[in-house]
Symmetry: D2
């Protein structure tokens, strides 16, 4: 592996992970949202926190926005604010699930008026992209049904296709639509985009600018996610990742926390399939319900980096040779050899080469930022999913 | 089956299903709580709604309370209010998951002060039972951890045992402790009472007054719930059911809505195991996030009744004979013969014999109650999980 | 519903369920195959048994073959033998998983020689279709890997596509290729066609004659199968069903035995989506490991009929009205009203109208066939998965 | 961690992993058993292979037997044969699932004659233990049902309890009964010992010599196995592990291959709970269906060693401090710090200290044993699950 190290380091230096504005705000379960001191109250304060993560990790130059949670009057000004902190605004995430009108769905709702309202919101998100210079519109729909018979499964697909088509038509030449699927929740019987196959089929119909988002927490138990990644890359339809981890359902734990080996396997397929380029957006999408938010984001970013480093270290020639010869154990051993490597020293070097502290978490804690925001962000309404 | 009909009808007439006060209030997912018109604002209004359900079904004479959601100054007065409406107050449900102190757990929390606070709440619940005349204290703990290493699994069990023991010691002679288990949520790595085995082991240590609650939505995918029911009845440790249904996780859909055959099989084991007595509390515990709440409760009660009727219709002698002879297909056929029977006419008869409308849902809709509460319950704070 | 009854009866009379030759032979788990008396020893004896099922049910006019388990010298003669018994030969099922060469896969194997061998077998199956007059080639591949790294996920997709394309090119104008997917087993890490999305993507590339097979036991836990059915029908890509049922994995229990409500929901989508035509092949594919095989097939056929009858009874207008108005409970109630109907009397009438015994299982038992085959089929090698 | 290293090395030197005789023989799925060259034909040849594993790893001094697969005339002679190769005979595994009589169960069968036959087999296994000097009788029962109604769930529990009690009474003072549970397979509706709770409840009734076996592949999806380990250790009821790994069901892949982080967490609880002693039997129980068997066993042993080494490296004081202070991220970080360590150099040192090759797999390959057995073990019947 030694010969490969310079190339591996180069690759690690180019890595970019997008952090979501909402990870800095409050989140929780249906049972309780536990507030934390210092949580941002405005989109600008979220960007301040995101800038800290980028300051210490060096690999998180962009921030996803969520509309309406990050609604502001002047998006260009927000983009400029980000720019002053070394950040760019990333994907625009739509929200068609928190208005009372959306009780039975948004763009799949049986009532055309509700569908129109939801579509207008999606189109507004493209307007915002124009203002922020964002490339990606990320669409996740909570649409679905809770009871058999509640609505017509197929008619809802027709409505979905119609709305997606209208949004697609509105995209600029350099803009993309990223369609996310989810196994279940908040709908408990059918979900209108429940799996990669459904997202893929719609994206195929829409055209080149439509791509699938893989959220690592949105699958049925036991689903082989890296297989989906390989398949989507083969089809030229992988657009982005929403990284997070889970033991059960959509737990939204820190990326790499529940199954680091799975994250490694996913990154192996990304690299194998030519997906380790800016064409694939690597995003975090997770909730820090009980842990401190900023260091949890830093930790997640580091987990992604470590999985990437290990995946880059796989001896591809030895692997291919073992695969060709049908040597099951040797092929597995080649992969595991990379996984079992402790890449933390390597990543520390990469950071030091870039003038960063080798230990981003420790550096963050030393920075005093946590105390500062706890002291200063007093009063007002803390940001959260509902705000 | 004809000969058995009178006995079946008698049994159905004795059936009692407890409805939970919180099913009448608002509920939702972490994404959104959709408010509904006419939702109760006080415990008394919840009892008013529960009384309507009892009026039309005739089988829901008791109502579970949830503390603090149903906290009142004078519980004896609340019990009297219920009594005037033909109801009794049922199980007292504790809540140790909605205070900021409980971010890392309640009676399993690493900090003794938090544990003490949680224990005091549990003891207060027994005080309330004394006032309401409730037999059962129902304990569900959201306690658990989200990340490997977060806390010591075993030490948490020790803390759990200590608190349960203290509560158990406080119970009166006629009072019982019902311990509920849950696979996951809101904790996403470990849950301190995750399965029936853990609940059973604690109840065994505590003594005769401690029993296990089976919530039908609280199991790993594929778990055979009727097996657990049979096992707990064999051990004399089944205390209660929390009925609801699910396709995925703890979806809390209407009982019998997702898998009516499973509900039937559960009731078969209840009857087979001698559990169809007042010793077992048959409760609903579900959320009506998108559907009208009172008719959803009525529908759930009817689903339980239908499953019970079918289970009562099983030709036990024919079943035993087929089982003894190892005739797999015949034994299965005997069971399915009961399941495939349309028991709605039978239940309509039972209702008419009791002077009830044979169609409780239609009768409720005709009653005008929905409009009345929508008109009258204006202003104030609608009841919900957080209130 | 009364007005709809004649149409429902007409529809039920046109229903056809294909039974698989291998359901009459021995099957088991990896732990043990329990032999049964009277099991067929030859393809002709399997057809004899299938003819009995058709004699008593009236709705199983075709039989799927599995090559090489049903290999004969003269397929035209076998077709004629079937014809004399009122049967036709149905889908031809390939087998590329029981030769030692297939340890690491068949058409996805890293070695081109093994791929060629597997492809030749598939082409041979089309030759057999020419001889039997079968319309459908049903392809299920056990291909996959057991360990991360074992083989290249994407390269295997390329090999898969290449072989499928070669087979597709060989199909006659009236012939179709049905591609089956399976979540896992016998491969335990990746499966090369693991989900409907993968099967769909390949069929789309191949063309109009390629369709997806939905085996009801081949999904991840919790998967909403009727959603997939609706989606495939919408895309014109549903080719066939392999009916069976499961509580856990690919248990291959009798259709409708584990979750009759699910089977009903599936048939509802079939009818809703225009799939209740000869264009969709309704097949059984299950194992009778511990129960008597012929009556188990009869029972399964009856379960499919009952689910179909209930689905036909759904009041489509009332359902659509409730869906349009967003009345969740009423829409669900309309569906459940059909499901809760006891359709056995209706099916008994349909059978009597056709001159059949209203109770096929009882008629079979009275026929003496079970004893006859137990007496006569002595010596020789009982048919099974390996023969 | 440096100060702890000598103690860690000492602990690693004391580790013992028992290998199962059947891992050296053929295995497969219900679809196909792929034979491999050089597979043992007799129990003695299996011991020869096991001795090779011990020669190169130094930590597998005992071998589990499976009766009747390892039936010999003279067990004392077999034990002597093992002794000459530096091995001891370990747990005796019963088999009550491969006789035609066991189609509907063994000790839970409705027919007393079959139950008696099964019980006699179990008692014979204790006789064999007397002859081999084995401490542990490992009981796994395939008993269960495939269809609702097939047999009486509770009556089967009574029969189970009766048989276990009879066997328990036959145990010598130094002998133990290890009761294994399994979620499903080969039974597909109920399994008579489906979960740790059932096994625990029976062991509790039986007494001190009865302990629970945790097979890491025998749980429902998502089950937290380390929680069960912690719970059983707290109750003094953990007897043994059957290590293997899985992505889906009971895949029986190499230990540590599917989720190495899970294996680490399990070993953390073992050590935390005082279970890292000879009182807990650490066994492999897996199938090498497509990979070479002996090196697969070696690899599995090494995976267990690596997980153990990492678990031993956890800084317990730092962990406890972080847990006490409620620092979620720091507590998790302490655990992950150990997990992310590359322990292969440490284990290489431990091996070299013991005079072993630091790379057991390479040493095995250099030894020529694979070629030798392929050349010599010609003719005869290869050992497998059915022999």
């Amino acid at each position: 592996m030694t010969d490969a190290l310079p190339a591996v380091k180069d690759a690690l230096r180019t890595q970019a992970v997008e952090t979501p504005s909402w990870a800095y705000g409050n989140s929780g379960t249906r049972f309780k949202v536990f507030a934390q001191p210092g949580v941002p109250r405005t989109p600008r304060e979220k960007l301040d926190d995101a800038a800290k993560v980028h300051e210490f990790t060096g690999v998180t130059p962009t921030v996803s926005l969520h509309i309406p949670w990050d609604r502001v009057e002047d998006y260009a000004a927000l983009a400029a604010y980000a720019g002053e902190r070394g950040l760019k605004l990333g994907a625009i995430n739509s929200n068609t699930f928190q208005d009372d009108d959306y009780r039975l769905g948004s763009i799949c709702h049986p009532d055309a008026k509700v569908r129109r309202k939801a579509l207008d919101h999606l189109l507004e998100c493209v307007d915002i992209m124009d203002a922020t210079g964002s490339r990606d519109l990320k669409l996740w729909f909570a649409d679905g049904t809770n009871y058999p018979g509640q609505d017509d499964i197929r008619a809802r697909q027709d409505r979905l296709a119609e709305a997606l088509s209208a949004v697609y038509g509105r995209l600029g030449d350099e803009q993309r639509m990223l369609l996310e699927y989810k196994f279940f929740e908040p709908a408990f019987y059918t979900t209108d985009v429940p799996d990669w196959g459904t997202a893929y089929a719609h994206c195929l119909t829409l055209g080149q600018k439509a791509r699938v988002v893989v959220d690592t927490g949105h699958h049925a138990p036991g689903t082989n996610i890296e297989f989906i990644v390989a398949t989507l890359l083969r089809a030229g339809k992988l657009g982005a990742f929403d990284f997070n981890s889970r033991f059960y359902a959509d737990d939204d734990l820190m990326a790499g926390a529940a199954d680091p080996f799975q994250l490694f396997r996913i990154m192996c397929e990304v690299i194998r399939g030519g997906g380790f380029t800016p064409d694939t957006a690597f995003m975090l999408d997770q909730c820090h319900n009980i842990e401190a938010k900023i260091p949890a984001v830093i930790r997640s970013v580091m987990n992604v980096q470590e999985a990437t480093a290990k995946a880059l270290l796989v001896d591809r020639e030895a692997l291919a040779a073992a695969q060709r010869s049908g040597d099951v154990l040797e092929a597995n051993a080649v992969l595991m050899d990379a996984y079992n490597t402790d890449v933390r020293p390597l990543l520390a070097e990469v950071r030091e080469d870039q003038g960063l502290d080798p230990d981003p978490v420790a550096a963050y804690h030393r920075s005093g930022w946590a105390r500062k925001i706890a002291d200063e962000r007093v009063g007002g309404q803390q940001a959260g999913w509902g705000a």
